[in-house]
């Protein structure tokens, strides 16, 4: 490789790099601006990623809570089912209603039997 480079460049004089100070200033300013833009972009991307992750976590939490809610609703329905309530009522000493009498306060109007 070095032979090839030598073959290409032999007889070519190395030039002297002369740098104009104004150009150097402008170039430096450009580099600084580009660096700032790149840094800003990086900050934005990383912040977006962090927020995206946070949203994903919130979605997962919402999903988990929804499922938790459904499970609790079904468990509650099972615990308060008619058969369960019946068992509990019997355990607590309640008995089925029989011979219900509707009580009518004395000061109210006449009954059907009264003309």
């Amino acid at each position: 490789m070095s032979d090839f480079v030598q073959w290409v460049t032999h007889g070519v004089k190395r030039g002297k790099l002369e740098m104009n100070s104004r150009i150097a200033l402008r170039l430096s300013a450009l580099v600084v601006v580009l660096t700032l833009v790149a840094a800003l972009y990086l900050v934005l991307v990383s912040r977006t990623a962090a927020q995206g992750r946070h949203i994903q976590q919130l979605e997962a939490e919402l999903f988990r809570l929804q499922r938790e809610n459904e499970q609790l609703e079904v468990e509650l329905a099972g615990e308060s089912s008619v058969s369960r309530l019946w068992e509990r009522a019997i355990e607590l000493g309640f008995v089925p209603v029989e011979d219900v009498d509707f009580v009518r306060p004395l000061d109210e109007g006449p009954s059907a039997e009264e003309p």
């Binding site: 007889g11 499970q71 509707f102 006449p110």
Partner: protein
């Protein structure tokens, strides 16, 4: 500088410039000319369509909001075998938890398949325990399983849902499309494990349940009805039965029970049996209704202006219709009888006389208007039309049908048709469509009520009121077993023979009673049907007694005070 080096330098510069041009041209080709192709290719490589966990099915509730069919949280334990680095360790960890032999799990993990299911359905607690292990390559996929927290309660109305989420029988089948959730898919950039990458904020796509249903059933009424049906079947030694309770003002079904019942959560237990209990006899099985149809025959004759309740005829114990002799069930002659007496004594001869007086055209027009011979349109799966032969059907209809049909033989109805027809009388002659769904609730919680649908005004309100009073006399004088203390109730028995090939079964009957009350503003109508009661073949001794016991309790539960109390309230 000598010419040689210059020439070489120029040559190399030209070559390099050419090379750069080729690269630039290639870049232009990729970035500009083929821009769309490569963009799409890159997107395809980066993005995946990920099917989210199957959302839950819509919840079914009773009219007071109690859950009748909900969704239990479950998980499926699966493995991406390519990501499992330690099959032996994973199998050892999962085996005791899932009660699956570790060797079996290890064999699954070592298989050629890229994806294996280790256990298809595990409980919430177990699924969360497996997830907490954080085993590499093991996926704990969230699922829902249909749960019926009330057990067998209202099983024939609800139906059941299989493991694939498809509804069968009852409301589950009839409203399957509504209850089914929409499958949610998310498309976006993912990582190699098909997980959403965090730097792209995708729109929130959470699984949404299917639409929910609020039924017109009242679970307390349903429980009482089922208790009474079980008691009646046992006490009267019947092989089956059906009870329907309906609000005649709206045709809302408050309770519907058939025996034998089943637990929809354990539908798998019945597979392999000859007779599956899933079909609802209330809408799917037809029977000859017998004397209950006399209500409709008398209604038609009254509404057509042919007779009044006081019109008399001479009952000689038999009448010939189309060459066939029709007799009373008691085989007795009753002499001069009024139209009201036809109902009170349930006289076959009387109704055959009425139908022949009306003629086939008028008689069948009314029976059809009452809804016989066609489905009621109730929102339950598997409803059949029954059978009502019409004179136009020359091959099958016979002149004698006019006589036998007048007292409910030679035709077939479903219990739902029969209660709807009689509820028409209790609703001032207007026939509505019976229904079990009161509200539909969208996934976002928006509820829409199902309004009653008026099918037709079958008889005038005046005729209906007159008939109601006649039916009260039927209970008071003809079937005192059905009387409910403190309330005016109307009703009619039906003791029907069961058709078999070549005639009628001499062994059994179908005993039924339809009653409503309190008259004149009925709050509920009840149909009790018992199949082949052995203790007594007569409806007055079986179904009427069941009606009395049940209705006495229902009036209390539904807060219907006795007649005297209501009159007192009205006078205040």
């Amino acid at each position: 500088m000598a010419d040689g080096p210059r020439r070489r330098l120029r040559l190399m510069s030209t070559l390099l410039a050419g090379l750069v041009l080729v690269i630039v041209a290639q870049l232009a080709q990729v970035q500009i000319v083929d821009h769309r192709f490569y963009k799409e290719w890159a997107r395809e490589q980066r993005e995946r369509t990920v099917a989210m966990a199957r959302p839950p099915r819509g919840v079914i509730r009773d009219r007071n909001g109690y859950v009748l069919a909900g969704n239990a949280v479950m998980y499926s334990i699966e493995a991406d075998t390519a990501y499992v680095v330690d099959p032996e360790g994973v199998a050892a960890a999962l085996g005791p938890l899932l009660h699956v032999p570790a060797a079996h799990i290890e064999r699954l993990l070592d298989s050629e398949s890229l994806w294996v299911q280790i256990k298809p359905l595990v409980s919430k607690d177990l699924g969360e325990q497996v997830a907490d292990l954080r085993l590499q390559g093991i996926t704990v996929r969230p699922l829902w399983a249909r749960e019926y927290p009330e057990g067998p309660l209202a099983s024939h109305v609800i139906g059941f849902c299989n493991a694939e989420g498809v509804g069968f029988y009852g409301v589950e089948e009839f409203h399957d499309a509504l209850l089914q959730p929409a499958q949610v898919e998310w498309r976006g950039p993912v990582d190699p494990a098909s997980e959403q990458v965090p730097w792209v904020v995708a729109p929130v796509v959470l699984p949404q349940a299917g639409a929910g249903l609020v039924l017109t059933l009242d679970r307390t009424v349903q429980a009482l009805v089922e208790e009474e049906l079980a008691r009646s079947v046992q006490e009267y030694q019947a092989v089956g039965g059906t009870i329907i309770v309906m609000d005649p003002r709206t045709f809302e079904i408050l309770a519907l029970a058939s025996w034998p019942e089943y637990d929809p959560g354990r539908y798998n237990d019945f597979y392999g049996l000859d007779h599956l209990p899933f079909e609802d006899p209330a809408v799917s099985q037809q029977y000859e209704p017998g004397s209950v149809v006399k209500i409709l025959t008398v209604a038609a004759a009254l509404d057509a202006g042919l007779v009044t309740p006081a019109t008399t005829y001479h009952d000689q114990g038999w009448i010939e219709v189309g060459g066939v002799v029709v007799e009373n069930a008691s085989r007795q002659a009753y002499g001069d009888q009024t139209v009201t007496d036809i109902l009170v004594h349930s006289l076959n001869v009387g109704t055959a006389w009425l139908s022949t007086q009306m003629g086939a055209g008028t008689f069948y027009r009314y029976l059809q208007a009452f809804g016989l011979g066609r489905p009621t349109g109730v929102d339950l799966a598997g409803e059949v039309a029954g059978q009502l032969l019409l004179p136009q059907d020359y091959e099958r209809w016979h002149d004698s049908n006019l006589g036998t049909n007048s007292f409910g033989q030679g035709m077939a109805v479903t219990p739902m048709q029969m209660i709807s027809a009689v509820a028409t009388v209790a609703n001032d002659g207007a026939r509505l469509r019976p229904h079990v769904v009161g509200q539909r609730v969208a996934a976002d919680g928006t509820a829409s009520s199902c309004q009653p649908v008026v099918e037709s005004q079958v008889i005038s309100a005046q005729t209906a009121r007159t008939l109601m009073d006649m039916m009260v006399r039927v209970v008071d004088e003809g079937v005192p077993q059905a009387k409910v203390e403190g309330y005016r109730v109307a009703g009619k028995t039906g003791t029907a023979q069961i058709p078999i090939p070549g005639g009628y079964d001499k062994e059994g009957t179908i005993a039924s009673f339809i009653g409503f009350g309190p008259v004149p503003n009925p709050r509920l109508i009840v149909l009790v049907k018992l199949d082949r009661p052995k203790k007594s073949p007569w409806a007055s001794e079986t179904a009427a007694r069941s009606f009395q016991r049940l209705t006495t309790r229902l009036f209390v539960v539904l807060g219907v005070p006795p007649d005297g109390t209501r009159v007192a309230e009205a006078l205040r």
